[in-house]
Amino acid sequence: MAKTLAQEFTKGLWEEIPPFRLVLGLCPTLAVTKSVQNGIGMGIATTFVLVFSNLLVSLLRNVIPAKIRIACFIIIIATFVTVVELLMQAFAYPLYLQLGIFIPLIVVNCIVLGRSEAFASKNKTVPAIADGLGIGVGFTLSLSVLGAVREVLGEGTFYGMQVFGPSFEPFSFMVEAPGAFVCLGLLLCLMNLAGSR
């Protein structure tokens, strides 16, 4: 079944939205979504890597021998991750300090490798870019929502701005690692409820 370009893009926004539908890439999801800003930053970095690695994998899909395809994908992905890391250091250093080790860890994010293996290596370049962009935007959205919930509850702020009065006692459990699991679980539950209607 051939999908249109728009479908390739929009499937990443709901049908296959990571990390809720494709329950992949949980490590950065749980670790960096302490705030909206971090969620968006991580999402954009991952989107960049997804789009470019999908593009290159798709272009080279007839050149890369099947036996060493994973190694080739990893080289391509690692290259773009390092590009993101360098650019972020040069142009958004405070964000880089916040995200730290999780930027290099995009290399081992299953979503990126998963899209290369499952989609880009079997499809033409343009749909591959649409797929990467869709999944990337979906990932960014998820991380922002997760970051927003955790930041509002855990710090009482949204994108650094106070949302509650001074009497608000931050529910700091939400910005700790266990809070991330609970929050992700509840959101996943809500999404399944909404989807089952």
Binding site: K67, T82, L86, A90, Y93, L97
Partner: protein, 197 residues
């Protein structure tokens, strides 16, 4: 056999391309990254210890070759004289190196102040090294080159409670600063004598 050759060729080409691209980006962003690091990591640390200086210590810096690399020295003008220099050293902590900015008064030979630049210590324990002023104030006024040690090791420094390893790393960095200062003192004095802020 042919397949094997193809695999080797593809991987080699891909890796060299990746290496070339990254080298190019690194060369082009290096300068910007260095200035960002100065601004966001070393900047605040320098500003804290050089409080009350008549100049901008981040701007007024010079480099002296130490070993194979060049080290930055930041000059602070107090009472109209450029008599304080600050530089960074590192000591191995609990989660990697703890970077310490040490400011030395070249006239009295005493430590003017110390401040943390980078660390990866445990939040709530070792990470307090960044904020605990009482701990850091113990170093001010100590003659540079003193073998600073925590009390547990027979020294005079009261360690951060629950963070002996971090405190040791900090002491080690300060001690290293003493050795470095002795080594390059003539060059520092030479640079300072021609300094016109």
């Amino acid at each position: 056999m042919r397949e094997m050759v193809k695999m080797v060729i593809v991987l080699t080409l891909l890796s060299s391309f990746s290496g070339g691209l990254l080298a190019a980006i690194r060369n082009n962003t290096q300068e910007r990254i260095d200035s960002q690091v100065l601004k966001f990591v070393k900047g605040p640390a320098i500003q804290t210890i050089m409080e009350g200086a008549d100049n901008n210590p981040i701007q007024d810096r010079f480099a002296i070759p130490v070993g194979e690399t060049e080290k930055n020295f930041f000059v602070g003008v107090f009472d109209g004289k450029p008599n304080v220099v600050a530089f960074e050293t590192k000591g191995g902590g609990y989660g990697g190196d703890v970077g310490v900015m040490v400011a030395v008064n070249v006239e009295s030979g005493k430590i003017h102040g110390v401040s943390v630049t980078t660390h990866n210590e445990t939040p709530g324990l070792g990470a307090r090294v960044e904020t605990d002023e009482d701990f850091k104030n113990q170093f001010a006024g100590v003659p540079i080159g003193t073998e600073t040690q925590v009390k547990k090791d027979g020294g005079d420094i009261t360690a951060l409670s629950g963070a002996t390893i971090t405190s040791r790393a900090f002491c080690k960095a300060v001690a290293k600063a003493g050795q470095l200062f002795e080594k390059v003192k003539p060059k520092i004095m030479e640079k300072l004598s021609t300094f016109s802020g």
